[in-house]
Amino acid sequence: MPLLSNLTQEAFIAARSLADYVGGTGLRLGVTGLSRAGKTVFITALVEALLAAGRPAAPGRRNPLPVFRVHAEGRLMRANLEPQPDDAVPRFAYENHLASLTGGEGGPDARHWPESTRRISELRLTLEFERKSGWRSGSSSLTLDIVDYPGEWLLDLPLLSKSYAQWSQETLEASAAAARAPLAADWRGYLKTIDPAGPASEDIARKAAELFTAYLRASRADKYALSTLPPGRFLMPGDLEGSPALTFAPLPTEGGSPSGSLAAMMERRYEAYKTHVVRPFFRDHFARLDRQIVLVDALSALNSGPAAVRDLETAMTDVLMAFRAGRASFLTTLFRPRVDRILFAATKADHLHHTSHDRLEAILRHLTARAIARAEGVGAEVDVIALAAVRATREASVRQGRETLDAIVGTPLPGETVGGETFDGAQEVAIFPGSLPADPRTVFRGDALAIPEGEADYRFVRFRPPVPQVDASGGFQPLPHIRLDRAIEFLFGDRMA
């Protein structure tokens, strides 16, 4: 049965990619990242930067994307938002997200980061440019398809290759580990009182699912910042809340699952979850990617401690195993698209001084080492950068007595704390976030989780979006960024040569 469904899925993917190829020159950009990694902000900033690049530049203005070659060489003519190809998927609310970043109607004081994404959405962008390379010179266009989705759902992809028994065992083992045991205490307590081989009962199933969900939610809180928490729809149910496909929980399955038992019901629901939720999601949005950017919010995990960092490593490695990487050739482009370039980006790089970016990149490289090795092994190109799609801070040096510190200046979100001070979200503050260790392996050592603020060597505060700058004509200037142009160049600059 799984073989058959796999085969149909493969056939479906091949058919759609063939249709894509015949349909025109497009590029499906996969923006991958767990929740709060900054997918929505990245997409908004990317679209805004490209649209701004496509407009005729005001004379004397500096080019905000110098590394993006096709633009720097003056060959990019236009960038347009277009109707997306899938009629059943909502459009990515680019205008709303941009308005929340700049404050929109409410003025600069109303600026805030976009709300966390609750459903899937899609956007198509067409870039018109002139080729300069040899026999294909002349005007041409590139269509970018970008999908935004709740990052929690990404956690489901590893489930595709796991049976219920396997998943139950892994989840139970993980919840028994030192870092998670206190969070999972309620759920595990309840688990002891039920009998998996007993008769199926909707009440028990609901109660177990509720407690399990509560445990997942608690682990995700900022304080702990744990990442490996499948199934993703439990955290962000979308429109499936309360349906049977979402009312299950892992059970110890040593006793097997005789038909009619609670375990059998759970197993059936788990399989239904995979068939009706995970597989369509993967097939429709991830199976046909050409390029991929993996956004990783390493700073939250670093704030929490080594256990959270290792958890993030596990989650990222599991998720990335689901993607197809490899060098693209004509045949693979036709039938089995592969991701031939992957960019790993440590987001929120503006939360530390640029002199620490190398260390952040080293940590990310270490964090995703297995995924990088796998991608490079099959011929995909890989790069690792520290990125800030929207830059919320500027840099300063602070001198106190004989000590000089490299600090960043920005407006922290209300309630953030550093060095015993709590901020109100209105004041600009210079913050020295501490220094990352020179050896990236250091941050993986130890079992600490949710390290209190006073004990950590570093503390990364979240900032509000930058105050939008108005230019002479009354419009907003492009949002400041760090290395967004380098990311753009790497992701699709070569397709616009």
Binding site: N63, P66, A396, V398, G401, E403, R483
Partner: protein, 348 residues
């Protein structure tokens, strides 16, 4: 988090900006000074980018031209081939005649032709290697500019290693090469590494080049001032300019033969065509002024100054095109920097 309580690492902390403003009232020891730092992610000036684009486009017209084959190239190759065939026929009949007269004479003829062919092959090989070498330097220039722009550490390391390899046969650069090679193995950002290489390795060469340009400009202006006929100084200026371009290419590591030199001249010409027009704006005043004062003393003296400036400009274009990296850490010199004597009032 780690087991080193005794070691004092700075703790994460916040500084309210208003505290810093009030800091003047606090005692010296506790005063907090917050100083804004230059923005490293700010975009480079458009002007320097433009300069770089001109240099690269000039290089692409000559020394790193993509195709070795052009219509002109085809014409010359075909013509050369025909001449070679004709020579072959002629040699053949010559040898036949020689052998017919005395076998000994014939063998001498064979030996001479063999020597001729050998020399021709060596010369051709040198030509090709010269062209390729110059091309490699041009590509290095473009790649270094790109690596510096993107702050690409990995690319910077390999490129800087290539750069040191280029100057491996120069004993006077030994120390700088060792220094830069050491740095490629340490943690230095790509952009910084390239800047360091420029300052330590390329800057001494720049000084030699500037010195050469100055000497050529001086010679040209003096000879023009005292030459009896216009045709003499015309030839002299041309010869000096060619010699200067060749010399600059050699200083930066190129070995232009004949074809390589022609390609180089094409690049220099392209660069000169663009920058000459732009420079007319900023130094026309000086030129007119210089010419004016000199011309008041003597018409020939004024011409000398102008020819000297022309030579210096050719030299600067050759410098920009032959240099294995863009001007970044140090500013690109102008006519006034290399030949200040041309602007001093009156005497050349």
């Amino acid at each position: 988090m780690t087991d080193r309580p005794s070691e004092r690492t700075p703790r994460p902390r916040a500084f309210r900006l208003e505290d810093a403003d009030l800091g003047a009232l606090a005692p010296e020891r506790d005063r907090i000074v917050v100083e804004s730092q230059p923005d490293v992610f700010a975009q480079p000036d458009d002007e320097t980018r433009d300069q770089e684009e001109i240099v690269e486009s000039a290089q692409k017209k000559g020394i790193v031209a993509r195709s070795l084959m052009s219509w002109g190239g085809l014409f010359w190759s075909a013509a050369f081939g025909l001449v070679t065939l004709a020579m072959g026929l002629w040699f053949d009949s010559l040898l036949a005649n020689l052998f017919a007269r005395t076998p000994a004479l014939g063998w001498i003829g064979v030996a001479l032709i063999g020597a001729l062919v050998l020399a021709l092959l060596v010369l051709a090989g040198r030509e090709v290697s010269g062209v390729l070498r110059q091309k490699r330097i041009g590509q290095m220039h473009i790649a270094l500019a790109r690596a510096r722009e993107t702050d690409d550490t990995a690319a910077a390391r390999t490129l800087v290693r290539d750069l040191t390899a280029l100057y491996a046969s120069r004993p006077d650069t030994a120390r700088a090469r060792a220094h830069v090679l050491d740095l490629t193995r340490e943690i230095v950002d790509g952009r910084d590494l390239i800047d360091i290489a420029e300052r330590t390795l390329v800057m001494p060469l720049d000084q030699t080049v500037q010195h050469e340009i100055a000497r050529a400009a001086k010679r040209v202006s003096v000879v023009t001032a005292i030459s009896p006929r216009a045709i003499v100084d015309l030839l002299f200026v041309a010869a000096q300019a060619f010699r200067l371009v060749r010399r600059i290419s050699e200083i930066y590591g190129g070995r232009p033969g004949m074809v390589g030199f022609l390609r180089l001249l094409r690049s220099v010409g392209a660069h000169l065509a663009i920058t000459g027009g732009m420079a007319a704006g900023d130094s026309l005043v000086q030129q007119v002024l210089g010419h004016g004062i000199a011309a008041k003393l003597s018409a020939r003296l004024g011409e000398g100054v102008l020819n000297g400036m022309l030579t210096a400009r050719v030299g600067l274009s050759a410098m920009a095109v032959c240099r294995p990296m863009p001007f970044a850490a140090e500013p690109s010199p102008g006519v006034k920097d290399v030949a200040p004597f041309l602007f001093r009032s009156g005497e050349p």
